[in-house]
């Protein structure tokens, strides 16, 4: 078995592709830098991430792949699923080794899995867009907590920056402890260490803007009035609005 170690960054992964073609040995498994190796390792190689190498691989992909598919690589990378890096590696290798585009050959298990995983991440991105609930703080910053299954927040930021261009906002991933802050001009990545100010994702009452409670109550009242009692369907409700999102949804408090 051939093992490659790399630094678990996307650039590192692309460098690993470069090195593999350079060395003409292809890894069976990819490991992090300090991850213990399994027994019966035939060969072990440590990739040193280099920008010029990863750029060359990316340029190669730009020639061989549609933009949609390159986007898919990013989505799968952000899925953070075990083995997703090996999947990307195999996919890139299949792309380079084939004369023709392989992107639509969904009978191939790797290509199918890439597509399915990318779709799952995309679904999570959409759910972030759907279910983010801002709470207005006293300093006029709109704050929203999220904790998506996949690391889908960066994929949704463009949408929020366009939509809420005239208000300051923070969307914070409590699970991964990072977030984005928009200051009316730019979006910056931030890490907050004052998580005690929003226990369970809710803004402390003293930090809330004056009318925030009112609008939360109005929204809750509206939401409850919209239900048609004769049609109640809890199964469909949970299917469309999975329980894991309820904790941050104003209307489900």
């Amino acid at each position: 078995m051939i093992i490659f170690h790399y630094d678990k960054t996307f650039e590192g992964l692309l460098t690993a592709v470069f090195d593999a073609y350079n060395r003409k040995t292809f890894p069976d498994r990819l490991f992090g830098e300090d991850e213990p190796e399994p027994l019966f390792t035939d060969e072990s190689y440590t990739v040193i991430t280099q920008g010029d190498k990863s750029n060359r691989v990316w340029q190669g992909l730009e020639r061989k792949m549609m933009a949609v598919t390159r986007n898919m690589l990013r989505y799968v990378w952000l899925s953070e699923q075990p083995g997703s890096d090996e999947l990307i590696f195999r996919y890139i290798r299949k792309t380079f080794d084939s004369k023709h585009s392989i992107e639509m050959n969904f009978a191939d298990p790797d290509i199918l899995e890439m597509r399915n995983l990318a779709k799952k991440v995309d679904k999570e991105r959409l759910r972030v867009i759907q279910f983010v609930r801002f709470q207005k703080a006293a300093d006029d910053i709109f704050f929203a907590p999220v904790s998506p299954v996949f690391n889908a927040l960066p994929l949704a930021i463009e949408h929020f920056a366009d939509r809420f261009a005239d208000q300051k906002w923070v969307i914070y991933d409590l699970k991964r402890n990072y977030g984005y802050y928009y200051d009316l001009k730019n979006v910056t990545e931030i890490t907050l260490d004052m998580t005690e100010n929003f226990p369970g994702g809710k803004l402390n009452t003293e930090l809330m803007a004056e009318d925030e409670k009112l609008f939360q109550d109005l929204w809750k009242g509206y939401f409850n009035s919209m239900t048609i009692k004769e049609r109640i369907n809890p199964k469909l409700h949970r299917q469309n609005l999975p329980k894991r999102f309820w904790k941050y949804l104003t209307e489900k408090q």
Binding site: N105, A107, F164, F215, W219, M226, R231
Partner: protein
């Protein structure tokens, strides 16, 4: 102040919720400098009520006072319900503040008719105008066009709203007259025509000048109440098919009748809203819009009503076994679309994947294509030939509907012996 707004909001939401349209799709609008919001072309649902319906827009009425007395409507003037009216400013503020918190995609504005149609429509137009011009709101706006309002007001509304709609409510004229004596199909078609003309003229203008104003860019929609009157599915679907002939008509919604005014003996006494029938009608609607079916293929004189037990596509396939089996490696896209259980996505997936090699049952399964129904209607490399033609439509129907029976708790296959004490 606060209590009052909350009560108003609840009252007017209660009054608006029976309108089923919730789409926020059909327009793409980027944000503008100094403006708020944008519109994503595919529509976004922000929440789901406990009945499983999507909440995308703030679906609200300006007022639920009404001069009309339509039997099917909760807001009819003879009903003793709580009444309320929003001021233009209140509604605008509510929309903006909800939007800023990502609760909604925009506004769905409807209203009861007060004083006269033009008076009502004029107030509604003021709301959307204020949103668009004063607040530079770029979110989605769906507005009802009030029956009997002037063409001029409809034209103005179209400049601000993304979608305009007029509900036909009852599929046949005669039944509409019975339940809503003050309305007629003509009074519904008139504003529809205004909208259509506005949309067509604007798209012509925009071909010449990029800067020409858009008019209701997401077109119009309408809604029919199902089960309040005695129309067959054939009549309903023919009405929808005629609607879809109109150039700007994007959607026809079907709303299973909920007995809101059970005391009115012109209306049937229903224990349950006809949810299955509603679902079948939507499926039939989809067949017309996305599967290239003609209305008389779905319902005809022999089968004037949709089969409640099986979906309309399966029903069609069982009536027409001569079209099957379809070879998924050779048949063209439209034929694949007609296989029961294979949707638009699956059909497209099959068509692109088979270029790389022949597909078999295993690869179809791996691709996530559900073969439960499709297996009786296709041939591919390895699939055992056990299709609708080797057996019979009756047999396939029996297998596909039998499972539900087996799931029941009282298992009829098991003989039960009763022992006397």
């Amino acid at each position: 102040m606060k209590e009052e707004i909350l009560e108003k909001l609840k009252t007017l939401a209660e009054s608006a919720k029976y309108d089923v349209s919730c789409a926020s799709s059909g327009t793409t609008r980027k944000s503008t400098p100094g403006g708020i919001g944008n519109t994503a072309g595919w529509g976004i649902c922000h929440s789901f009520t406990e009945d499983g319906r999507c909440v995308s827009l703030l679906k609200i009425m300006l007022t639920n006072y009404c001069i009309y007395d339509c039997a099917y409507c909760i807001n009819r003037r003879s009903n003793d319900i709580r009444r309320a009216t929003f001021s233009v400013d209140e509604l605008v503020e509510l929309t903006i503040e909800f939007y800023r918190r990502n609760y909604i995609e925009g506004l769905f504005l409807s209203s009861g008719v007060i004083n006269n149609p033009d008076y009502t429509m004029e107030r509604m137009v003021r709301v959307v105008k204020q949103l668009r011009t004063v607040h530079k709101f770029n979110g989605y706006i769906h507005m009802k066009s009030i029956l009997g309002s002037s063409e001029q007001l409809v034209r103005e509304a179209g400049l601000y709203a993304d979608r305009l709609s007029v509900n036909i409510e009852i599929p046949t004229e005669q039944n509409l007259k019975m339940l809503a004596p003050e309305k007629s199909h003509e009074s519904v078609f008139k504003p529809m025509l205004y909208i259509q003309q506005g949309v067509l003229e604007s798209s012509e203008e925009r071909k010449k000048f990029n800067s020409a104003p858009r008019f209701a860019p997401a077109g119009q929609s309408t809604q029919m109440i199902i089960g309040a009157t005695d129309e067959s599915d054939k009549q309903i679907l023919n009405t929808s098919a005629a609607m879809y002939q109109r150039p700007s008509m994007k959607r026809v919604y079907y709303s299973g009748y909920i007995p809101v005014n059970s005391y009115d003996n012109r209306l049937p006494a229903l224990k349950q809203p006809p949810l299955v029938r509603e679902n079948r009608l939507y499926q039939a609607d989809w067949l017309m819009r996305f599967y290239e079916f003609k209305v008389d293929e779905i319902v005809d004189d022999n089968h004037p009503n949709l089969d409640l037990e099986i979906d309309p596509k399966l029903a069609w396939a069982l009536h027409h076994p001569e079209h099957f089996p379809v070879d998924i490696n050779k048949a063209d896209y439209t034929q694949i679309l007609r296989i029961p259980g294979i949707g638009v996505r699956s059909a497209k997936l099959i068509v692109v994947s088979r270029r790389y090699g022949r597909l078999n049952a295993t690869s179809l399964k791996k691709m996530g294509i559900v073969l439960k129904k499709a297996q009786y209607f296709i041939t591919c490399n390895e699939l055992p030939a056990f299709t609708v033609n080797e057996t019979s439509p009756e047999y396939v129907r029996q297998i596909l509907t039998a499972k539900k029976v087996a799931k029941r708790k009282d298992n009829h296959q098991q003989m039960s012996l009763e022992f006397p004490d």
